[in-house]
């Protein structure tokens, strides 16, 4: 049997690793990704484990790396991603000592240095910028105030003095000399500042302002602010303190301004040189920072991968047991039996790398525990396996529905989505994704919707392909039909008078007028139906029967698959008490229904079609044991129909107690026999059998029939009753449930017809020269709606319904509930690939 039919055979192994070699071996196993380690110290908390220091150091390194990455991103430096996968760095000798030194030397030191440097540079830069701002402001003040002072010293400005002095004279303390304060303030604060000064000093100060043309950078947040230089003249100490307080309140920066012009010039010169110096320093630090970051950007991806690998290795080593002599680490792991060789090889490689001489020992153990389920998939089957696992991970070694889903899933989808045009769009889109698989994968697009479609590209490809096929069957392309082979119906022989006088004419295949060529259309539905008035009722009958036939076939197939489970797990009782009555029940009711459908399709020709029985009525009457009364027709389809149907109903009804009662009573008898045997102290054959079973690791899973546990008749009986009722009612409701195939297919066809009629048809019906232009616009509209509504939304709905038919909620499932337990747990191997992928996803 193929690899996907059952999950891989697993075995629990004990792994003895020499302490020196453990790190290298685990690293090799991580690259391989085929081993699932079990936690051997579950009661030890995370802080008491052996390698907690190493893990902590890795965490610290990761934090520093993230800091570096943030800085790199802030500066828009492209991060080099070569896509290479460096191995976890190798500790040279003793794990504890050497590892610490190794990491410290190569990584930590570099990181720490870089980190400190960066922090320093950042701090410096801020201080420098602040300094720079102050100096530029001072420069502006000096330049602008020069103008004021020039004015003051000229004759005209003596007016100011005069006015201030006169007002002061009223105040009573005239002095000759005016004091002044110069500073810089935000431009938007200026009006309020001015008003405040005027009010607080009762108009006794003189304010002069000049705007600084270029914006200045605020060092704290890097904003660009416009500022204004001001200078305030006043007289007396009292006013000076008042003015200073107001300046403080408005967060204006005051600068000392020398009195004499020569001092001012000197100061301006000094300031200029200091600004120059600062600029050079600033530029140099920026350059240095940039260089450091560029160098880091080249390696940061590799560092991340390495650190994460080291961390994962130590996490795994934490799961191990230390033996008494402290020289050896003991691990327990689940391993696929088929991969034993590769794992041994990887272990040997690890030992060689670490330079150890003692090779690790891999020892198979027997266990009663159920092994994890591991289905070996490739990129094609992966998507389908994921769909199945959404229902529940299969029990260990159970029949896996995924290989069948590869065909049934797209097929049932296509039954609901049948349209050549829409199928083609879907197919081409998926084909593009499959074709450009590697480049698209390398791009690592994080868009959730895209990744979802990309993950299911092979499913979509098959769904599109099957939709083209069913579209051909339904003869449907954007709601139009293709007349490839020529319709089998013709109206040529209808007299002209009839055509003129009738709105609707019947093309009767039975008439003598040769309206039907007696050769059916080769593939799919005859295109003539597209124009007919009774198209929907014809298609409904066809699609309804179709969905019942497909549904019963799939359910029957599901029940058949359960036989493989029963024989594999050696449960003969289930074959006799479940499988056989289940098959009989399904066949006698719904198998017969399917046969009737085919019978009706084949047996009745156009002239006898009037007497063809309604299949639904026939089925209902069959269960109710009534006759089919159709006037003018024979009451039975074939001789002995009545008796045969009664026989089938009888079988179906007999199957119910068979399923319900036999198994619990047989189990009860077996159990009491066993109890008696044990009471007699005789080692009967039964007990021997028990011993055999207990050593067999596969059958000792979840089935209590052979186990030592207490046999509870009531529990078994209730369980069986639920199972029986679920099956009997289920097969009826599930058959009805498959009618969704018809309903959705009808809805899809109708929707696409409406879209054509309401949008594109309008464009086609335009007369005059502008018709083409309107058609141009409407076509784009129609195309967008077709993709958005019909392909995406309808496609999603059909997808969900298909998923529902295959697997969704436990007791409601049509296909898988027939054979699938889904009680397993997934195999989660220790793999660097998975760990790195998860870390990257968490990053973004």
């Amino acid at each position: 049997m193929g690899a996907l039919f059952r999950s891989e055979e697993m075995s629990l192994c004990q792994l003895f690793l020499q302490s020196e070699a453990a790190y290298a071996c685990v690293s090799e196993l991580g690259e391989l990704g085929l081993v699932q380690f079990r936690d051997l110290n579950p009661d030890v908390n995370a802080f008491q484990r052996k390698f907690v220091n190493e893990v902590r150091r890795c965490d610290e390194m990761e934090r520093k790396l993230r800091f570096l990455e943030k800085e790199i991103k802030k500066d828009d430096i492209p991060v080099l991603d070569t896509g290479e996968n460096p191995e976890a760095p190798q500790p040279r000798e003793m794990i504890d000592m050497e590892m610490q030194i190794f990491i410290d030397c190569t990584f930590q030191a570099t990181f720490e240095k870089l980190e400190n440097e960066l922090k320093e540079v950042n701090n410096n830069a801020e201080a420098l910028k602040k300094n720079y701002l102050e100096l530029t402001e001072l420069k502006h003040i000096l330049r602008k105030t020069q103008v004021f002072f020039d004015e003051r010293d000229t004759e005209e400005s003596s007016e100011i003095r005069k006015s201030l002095i006169t007002t002061d004279a009223v105040g009573g303390a005239p002095t000759g000399q005016l004091g002044f304060v110069a500073g810089v303030i935000n431009r938007e604060r200026l009006p309020a500042f001015e008003r405040m000064l005027w009010r607080a000093c009762r108009g006794n100060v003189y304010l002069k302002t000049a705007e600084i043309d270029s914006p200045l950078e605020e060092p704290s947040n890097g904003d660009q602010v416009y500022k204004t230089v001001f200078i305030i003249f006043f007289q007396g100490e009292q006013l000076k303190t008042r003015v200073k307080k107001i300046c403080e309140g408005f967060r204006a920066t005051l600068y000392p301004c020398p009195d004499t012009p020569s001092d001012r010039r000197e100061m301006a010169m000094g300031v200029m040189t200091r600004i120059e110096d600062l600029n050079t320093v600033l530029r140099q630090t920026q350059d240095h920072r940039h260089r450091v970051l560029v160098a880091a950007a080249k390696n940061i991806r590799n560092w991340f991968i390495k650190v994460r690998k080291i961390k994962a290795i130590y996490h795994t080593l934490n799961l191990f047991n230390l033996d008494v002599t402290q020289k050896c680490l003991i691990a327990e792991c689940w391993v696929p039996v088929a991969d034993m060789e590769t794992i041994q090889l990887a272990l040997r490689r690890g030992t060689e790398r670490s330079g150890s001489t003692v090779s690790p020992i891999l020892n198979m153990m027997t266990t009663k525990e159920a092994p994890p389920t591991y289905n070996r998939t490739n990129k094609f089957t992966q998507g389908f396996q994921n769909l199945i696992d959404a229902y529940g991970v299969s029990t260990y070694r159970e029949v896996n529905p995924a290989p069948y889903a590869v065909i049934t899933f797209p097929f049932l989808f296509a039954v609901m989505f049948g349209d050549i045009g829409h199928g083609l769009i879907m197919f081409l889109a998926a084909l593009y994704m499959v074709w450009k698989e590697k480049p698209l994968q390398a791009q690592k697009i994080q868009n959730e919707i895209f990744t979802m479609f990309f993950g299911g590209r092979y499913i979509i490809l098959l769904m599109g392909f099957f939709s083209i096929y069913t579209g051909l069957m339904y003869n449907d392309i954007f709601s139009k039909s293709l007349n490839i082979f020529g319709s089998s119906f013709t109206a040529e022989h209808i007299p002209l008078n009839d055509i003129k006088s009738h709105e609707v004419l019947q093309l009767n295949p039975n008439s003598t007028a040769q309206q039907y060529t007696n050769k059916p259309y080769p593939i799919g539905i005859d295109p003539v139906w597209q124009l007919s008035a009774n198209k929907i009722s014809f298609l409904n009958s066809y699609k309804m029967k179709n969905s019942i036939v497909l549904g019963v076939a799939q359910m029957l197939f599901g029940v058949m698959l359960s036989l493989w489970n029963h024989t594999y797990f050696k449960r003969p009782l289930n074959i006799y008490c479940e499988f056989i009555p289940q098959i009989l029940f399904l066949l006698s009711l719904f198998g017969y229904l399917v046969i009737l459908v085919f019978f009706k399709w084949v047996w009745y020709s156009a002239d006898t079609a009037g007497c063809a029985p309604s299949i639904l009525i026939t089925l209902i009457n069959m269960v109710l044991m009534k006759d089919n009364e159709v006037p003018g027709c024979p009451s039975t389809v074939y001789a002995g129909q009545q008796q045969f149907q009664q026989f089938l109903v009888l079988i179906a009804f007999l199957c119910v107690p068979w399923m319900l009662l036999v198994k619990p009573f047989v189990l009860f008898r077996q159990n009491s026999a066993r109890v008696r045997a044990r009471a007699n102290g005789v080692n009967s054959t039964l007990a021997a059998e028990e011993g055999v079973v207990a050593t067999d690791p596969h059958s000792s899973g979840g089935h209590g029939e052979h186990g030592d546990e207490e046999f509870e008749f009531g529990e078994v009986f209730v369980h069986q009753a639920i199972h029986t009722i679920e099956y009997a009612l289920g097969s009826i409701s599930h058959t009805a449930s498959y009618l969704r195939l018809w309903a959705l297919s009808l809805a899809h066809a109708q929707l696409s017809e409406v879209l054509w009629g309401m949008v594109l048809s309008l464009g086609l019906q335009m007369e005059g020269w502008w018709g083409g232009i309107i058609l141009y616009v409407l076509f784009a509209f129609w195309a967008v709606l077709t993709v958005g509504v019909l392909v995406l939304m309808e496609g999603l709905s059909a997808f969900l319904h298909t998923l529902r038919l295959h697997c969704l909620v436990l007791p409601m499932v049509e296909f898988q509930s027939k054979f699938y337990d889904g009680n397993g747990y997934a195999f989660m191997p220790f793999s660097f690939e998975v760990i790195l992928e998860a870390a990257r996803a968490a990053d973004e």
Binding site: K480, S481, L482, N483, L496, I499, K500, P527, Q530, L531, G757, S761, G763, L764, Q765, M766, E767, W769, G771, G772, I773, L775, Y776, F779, A780, A783, V784
Partner: protein
């Protein structure tokens, strides 16, 4: 000069796809109208009084409308060829812009 992109990279790709689709489908539909495909009869705007009137008039009207439909389809297809050229140009311009930014 490669030209400045008016449409973004995604929009130009989307327009390109619709244009290719439109060109193909409308060309084909034009051919189907031209050969008087019965499937498209429902899309012809035949007036009710002509439907009920003389057969000859009806046939003439249908013939006329078919050729008119074919003409409309081909005009629209031509327009789509233009928009295809336009979106290819836009697409390339966008790509070149992206390359320049990368450098």
């Amino acid at each position: 000069m490669p030209g400045c992109p008016v449409l973004g990279p995604k929009l130009s790709l989307c327009c390109l796809l619709v244009s290719v689709w439109g060109t193909l489908q409308l060309c084909l539909m034009g051919v189907f109208f031209y050969v008087h495909s019965v499937g498209l009869l429902e899309d012809l705007p035949v007036a009710e009084e002509i439907k009920r009137g003389m057969l000859k008039e009806y046939l003439e009207e249908v013939d006329y409308l078919y050729s008119k439909g074919a003409q409309n389809c081909w005009i629209a297809a031509c327009l789509y060829v233009f928009s295809m050229v336009f979106s290819i140009w836009q697409f390339l311009a966008n790509r070149r812009l992206a390359e320049r930014i990368e450098q």
